[in-house]
Amino acid sequence: MTTTVYIPQDSSALSLGAERVARAIQREALARGEIINIVRNGSRGLYWLEPMVEVMVAGERHAYGPVTPADVAGLFDAGFLKGKHHSLGHGRTEEIPYLAKQTRLTFARVGIVDPGSVADYLAHGGYIGLRNALSLSSAEIVNVVTDSGLRGRGGAAFPTGIKWKTVLDQAVEQKYVACNADEGDSGTFSDRMIMEGDPLTLIEGMTIAGIAVGATQGYIYARSEYPHACRALARAITAAKEANFLGQNIQGSGKHFDIELRIGAGAYVCGEETSMLESLEGKRGEVRAKPPLPAIEGLFGKPTAVNNVISLATVPVILARGAEFYRDFGVGRSRGTLPLQLAGNLKHGGLVELAFGCTLRELLYDYGGGSATGRPLRTVQVGGPLGAYIPASEFDVIVDYEALSATGALLGHGGIVAFDDTVDMGKMARYAMEFCAIESCGKCTPCRLGSTRGQQVLDDLKAGIRPDENLKLLHELMDTMQYGSLCGLGGMTPFPVRSALKHFPADFGPSRD
């Protein structure tokens, strides 16, 4: 009898040795005459257990991890192929509390399916959304997405349906769907996990978007920093084409849609939508002035629906189960679920998809298990390098768009980076300015020069040079950046700096030691 063994091919699992584990299990099975079928799945997102190996026993998956090649013989001895006890065992995967407490809608199939297989995707509820979409008019699809309350998961939180309606309303023959997969924010990896673990969900979401707005061509703008994700996407696009889920006359519907994968070249600013469009056109990724909105004049000057990976990957479940189903999750104006990413100095880092409404504290302690180093957590940065630092005294804040923004922070793409009490917030603030200087596209002066000047003023403060004057200067400089920059890079770099100054002023002067 063949036993199915799942060993992730997710980048993070690979970074912890999943490839060597896979080879060791294959070798050991051969030596023992055990017949196994290894599936290279995505990650379940329990990263402290990676490489996490799962074995299918009587229709249920049993988890073992973190597995090293040295553990493999022992696992076979213990009978892990039959789901038997071993010190690395965690029982049935679905019953691990970290996973069992989550509401996985966007991530329903990640870690479960074989990411390159259309058959497996279909067997797990894939393409029901597209089938439903094909029975609706474009306007009806847009209405479903609008009614679901889905807002752009890239960080701007703009209602997806309204954006699509703008594109649909343009009476132009050539339109595009452009997927922003330039996930450059530190602390975020949910796009990568979708692309590596369930890329067909993204492809289905883009296809539905194309049909909804009247576009026949889509582009995915992925990152050169994500070679594994790029390979998984390329494989999935080919598989979808072969199965006629992309290309001409999709499933006999008379609708056409194709996707081309484009790979960026290491520029953080290209995550800004207009800069991404310039880069897709093969140019320097310099930000465009808005208006015109990309929905009216986007890629190659044509109306373009620019959406984040998670937004698009959430569309299939909305079309499959209805707007109401999705809208019923969440609080206030933050509807549905958000895949949060627990990163940095946490014991149990990983992917936690929950309905909006939990607190930061629950995420950091109930899921994250506190710091990895065992020291007290001092602060977290939410929403990437342009997000504010939130001090431990404010960990009871609710994680949704409105509540975070009321405290001067932002949710962004849902990445949470935790720091213990050894962090020097003066250094983190200076790094924010340095990062802006390195990544500035150079088009507008507040960002290009302000970021370098910001580093100098912070250095002067640290050296104790004219502190009052320099502090005033720093605030004026940040006002100029915030209100005068063309895009969020220069405009939001002041957020981490200001929040660090506000909550940790003692870190900015000369050290006392």
Binding site: L16, W48, R192, A265, S279, K283, L346, G349
Partner: protein, 159 residues
């Protein structure tokens, strides 16, 4: 044409021709050239410009805008160290210092024996397993100075 062999020049020309009819081809071509030659030589810029009927300045501008494209040949293996916040929260800064000391080079440099080039990178998306580095196309998480030393020894032994 100086410094570029005729074989390399024809590789560049072929890549440029392949993509010439794709919409917005410049970055695709530059990826192709860097994958084939390891970098984008100055001479390649003129060839690409001539195939696409663009100015050399336009191509040069694209090459220099993006961190990923390099204008000099890399060492046999490129090591990229993540400098972003999540890695900093897990002792990424001392790791950076250790890497530079061990290799005896700074960012954007190549070791004298031509073995390793060192580049900073801003987020590998491995933020729950920080700090991270990439060696060639392979990503490594939870890297300590000791783990790094082992990796370098393995790399040296296998080449």
């Amino acid at each position: 044409m100086t410094g570029l062999s005729s074989a390399d020049a024809s590789t560049v020309e072929k890549i440029a021709q392949n993509f010439a009819s794709t919409p917005g081809p410049v970055i695709e071509i530059l990826h192709g050239v860097q994958n084939a030659l390891g970098y984008v030589p100055a001479e390649a810029i003129a060839i690409i410009a001539s195939v696409l009927n663009l100015s050399r300045a336009e191509i040069h501008g694209v090459v220099t805008f993006y961190h990923h494209f390099r204008s000099t040949p890399p060492g046999r293996k490129t090591i990229q160290v993540c400098r972003a916040e999540a890695c900093q929260s897990m002792h990424g800064v001392p790791l950076e210092a250790h890497v530079k000391t061990t290799l005896g080079i700074d960012y954007h440099e190549t070791t004298a024996d031509g073995h390793f080039s060192l580049e900073p990178i801003y987020c590998l998306g491995n933020c729950a397993c920080a700090p991270s580095i990439m060696v060639g196309d392979e990503i490594y998480g939870r890297v300590t100075p000791a783990v790094f030393d082992e990796l370098i020894d393995e790399e040296k032994a296998s080449s």
